[in-house]
């Protein structure tokens, strides 16, 4: 038999992808969960942030000459949301959120592996531990990026302002985001032994990170303390960049440019991937 150097990495990528396909319920929830957000939050708030249905005058406010109030209000909303309607704004952030949630919670499979004994199978193999864990993270990242793509494609049906040309580039950012949070999930999971403990930590982190990432509302209108936190949130950079490539809306804080976003995500992915590698090398079956 032929010896292949990257073989352990391929083994784990293969495993994660196969597992995803074998769990069809997960496929459904991948699509269903963001769909719920899009429909109820996106459509609900979408019509609030739209002046098109607004015809009359506001009591006590004189109408400026040459402009209708609805035009004025619409202009204001468009500025806030970077020139697109709210539904498009939100849907373009939803792909990043899906990838973020799926990859972060994906670390839970490490704990399942501890409980079902599969971790021992990977620990006793003569393969490089770094390659094994990198393969696992890579596999999860591929799977979650595909989930992100599915959400983007759904977005095309629901929202009007998305551009097909930006999808390819957006996927690169989503993939780096997936590596970042898969690695973080794995690092946390390697330290823990219970599923409940992991879920608690992840739930504690996901909600604030989600709301301070610019998915649901722009950074510019956030309170300044929230902006500071958003700056240290890797998800913010993915949300900004993916939205930029999908819709052209450039709504971010000052350091956020498509290039900077890429650098930040690449750095985050590299650092956390290496951390996961070192953490897995130190792993033994001792409690």
């Amino acid at each position: 038999m032929r010896r292949v150097n990257l073989s352990p990495l391929i083994a784990m990528v293969y495993r994660q992808v196969k597992r995803w396909f074998s769990a069809r319920s997960r496929l459904v929830s991948t699509v269903l969960n963001p769909l719920v957000w899009i429909i109820f939050l996106g459509l609900g708030w979408g019509s609030v942030f739209s002046a098109s249905g607004f015809k009359g005058a506001l009591p006590g406010i004189p109408t400026p000459p040459g402009l209708s109030i609805s035009d004025l209000v619409q202009k204001y909303f468009n500025t806030i949301f970077g020139g697109v309607d709210y539904l498009t704004f939100m849907v373009s952030g939803m792909a990043s959120m899906t990838v973020f949630l799926a990859s972060f919670i994906g670390g839970i499979s490490v704990i399942w592996d501890k409980q079902f004994g599969y971790l021992k199978e990977t620990l006793v193999a003569p393969a490089s531990r770094k390659l094994v864990i990198a393969g696992r993270i890579l596999g999860d990242a591929i799977v979650t990026t595909v989930q992100g793509l599915i959400v983007i494609l759904l977005g095309f049906i629901i929202a009007s302002g998305l551009r097909i040309a930006g999808v390819g580039i957006a996927l690169i950012y989503l993939f780096l985001l997936a590596i970042t949070f898969s690695s973080l999930g794995v690092v946390i999971a390697l330290k823990l032994s219970s599923v409940e403990g992991f879920q608690m930590i992840v739930n504690l982190l996901t909600m604030p990170l989600m709301f301070m990432s610019g998915v649901f509302y722009p950074f510019t209108t956030m309170p300044s303390w929230m902006q500071v936190i958003a700056l240290y949130n890797p998800l913010s950079y993915a949300v900004h960049a993916v939205r930029y490539w999908l819709t052209g809306a450039d709504v971010g804080l000052s350091p956020m440019t498509p290039l900077n976003d890429l650098l930040v995500l690449a750095a985050g992915a590299t650092i956390l991937l290496l951390t996961a590698g070192f953490a897995f090398e130190k792993t033994s079956i001792e409690e």
Partner: protein, 324 residues
């Protein structure tokens, strides 16, 4: 040739000594069994040999490689079947095998061929593409054995290979283990708490208790440690008491009913011909001969003061036969 050398192995968890100065060697091509109750330190010992745990002190040398200093080399030489299942239940039998092969650096057509060969060896070929979660306990264990063999290891380590299996599955696993030794000359190191399993399969047995090896040898050697086989002779007619005084090398002699004589001897194999000759010379006709070797259970009882069966039930305190 010794393929595994274990020297003065000690493993301490906080203040519990799981393994306390264990030394033994496993020879090429033999089946070596660590026999003992749960918590005796068998699995810990095996995990150290398999490089999954680091010993507190002592050394393990596998085919010349130190398990602590060169774990990668040792991992290449061994295949291991863990006590608890370590399969990915969501995947098929084939995929479990495939990923294992890939982890060890194999790929391509030969890997595919070998997977199917081994699945056939353990009679799972028709289930190759079924998800493991639908498998029975016996099927899972067989799959794990096949997986352990995939990379052609020199040494196969089996941790309680038949725990929780029904009698048919057990017999099947035994059959595979015998085949591996006889047909392929594989060296097998196994743990078990089943006396019959160690007796049936192992060339040599080390009895472990409380982290120590308390006796080691072939099944026969261990039983001979007790040195009291019991011979039963059934004669055509009732013999007088005086017959008992005629025997040499007999520890105890009793006349029972129906012409039955019970003799407690050092070694029945050696004494029996002489005893029979003597009885016949005295003019008795022998109707039946039987003798009973002490079982491993009696050996364990002799060494620890309690029965192996009893110590399996962790909830009940160990009861020696002496106190009953």
């Amino acid at each position: 040739m010794d393929v595994i050398v274990v020297e003065n192995l000690v493993k301490k968890y906080k203040d519990v000594l799981a393994v306390n100065g264990v030394s033994f060697t496993v020879r090429k091509g033999e089946i070596f069994a660590l026999l003992g109750p749960n918590g005796a330190g068998k699995t810990t010992t095996i995990h150290i040999i398999a490089t999954l745990l680091k010993p507190t002190s002592g050394r393990v040398i596998v085919e010349g490689y130190d398990a602590v200093k060169e774990p990668g080399k040792v991992r290449r030489l061994i295949g291991i079947v863990f006590q608890e299942p370590s399969l990915d239940q969501q995947l098929t039998a084939y995929d479990n095998m495939y990923i294992h092969g890939r982890l060890y650096g194999y790929s391509g057509n030969e890997l595919r061929k070998r997977i199917l060969e081994l699945l056939e060896f353990v009679d799972l070929k028709e289930y190759a593409f079924k998800q493991v979660k639908h498998f029975s306990g016996g099927m899972k264990r067989r799959l794990e054995i096949a997986r352990g063999l995939l990379t052609n290891p020199d040494i196969l380590i089996l941790d309680e290979p038949t725990i929780g299996l029904d009698p048919q599955s057990r017999a099947r696993v035994w059959e595979y283990v015998r085949k591996l030794k006889n047909d392929l000359g594989m060296t097998i190191l196994m743990t078990t708490h089943y006396l019959d399993e160690a007796d049936e399969l192992a060339d040599r047995i080390a009895i472990m208790d409380h982290g120590r090896i308390i006796a080691m040898g072939t099944s026969l050697e261990l039983k001979n440690m007790l040195g009291s086989d019991v011979i039963y002779l059934k004669l055509s007619k009732q013999a007088p008491e005086s017959l008992c005084r005629e025997f040499n090398g007999v520890k105890d002699c009793r006349l029972l009913e129906d012409g039955l004589i019970e003799l407690v001897v050092e070694n029945a194999n050696k004494v029996l011909p002489e005893v029979m000759k003597l009885v016949m010379e005295k003019g008795y006709e022998i109707r039946e001969v039987s003798y009973r070797k002490p079982s491993l259970n009696e050996v364990f009882l002799h060494l620890t003061g309690r029965e192996l069966r009893d110590s399996l039930e962790a909830s009940s305190p160990p009861r020696g036969r002496w106190h009953r």
